[in-house]
Subunit: 102 residues, 2 copies
Amino acid sequence: MAKLLVMYHNPPDPAAFDKYYNRTHVVVAKKLPGVRSYTISKGPIASPGGTSPYHLIAELTFDSMGAIQAALGSLEGQAAVADLANFASAGVTISMYEMRDA
Amino acid sequence: MAKLLVMYHNPPDPAAFDKYYNRTHVVVAKKLPGVRSYTISKGPIASPGGTSPYHLIAELTFDSMGAIQAALGSLEGQAAVADLANFASAGVTISMYEMRDA
């Protein structure tokens, strides 16, 4: 299994971010081919230091790294990436990796 | 369900990091009370820009944020946190959050 981990930096207007994310971006992202699961953080993100640089963390799982690359290269993937410009101007950190049990 | 997401920054000696993580830290971290699953990234972490700031990403799930706090506050949790100084000198970003389906 492989993961697409998307960490959204703290936006200037969290309420506007949440509204756009939940009403629009989720709908766009769910169209990615090959998604096996799609979970997001609920409520505030805590860090040991007290403040987190991230407002929302999304996790999408796929069968493999190849499936992630195929998804991002598809028309649906290009639309999802392009949609980031509509709400994630504060920045986004994206990581993709194979997973295994520790 | 709640997640403890631990992102290890690129270490100066990746081979030494991997050896210590897999032989020692995993053993220590598995003793945390209340852990429901523990997965780690396998192989390199990719980012759209090409270079990832992270060498390894670990994901531990618990029943709730309270369970994470209890785990970190336990003797086993204190030992796991203290063990970071033995191999994660390049830095570590920790996030804790409740999860929900998107």
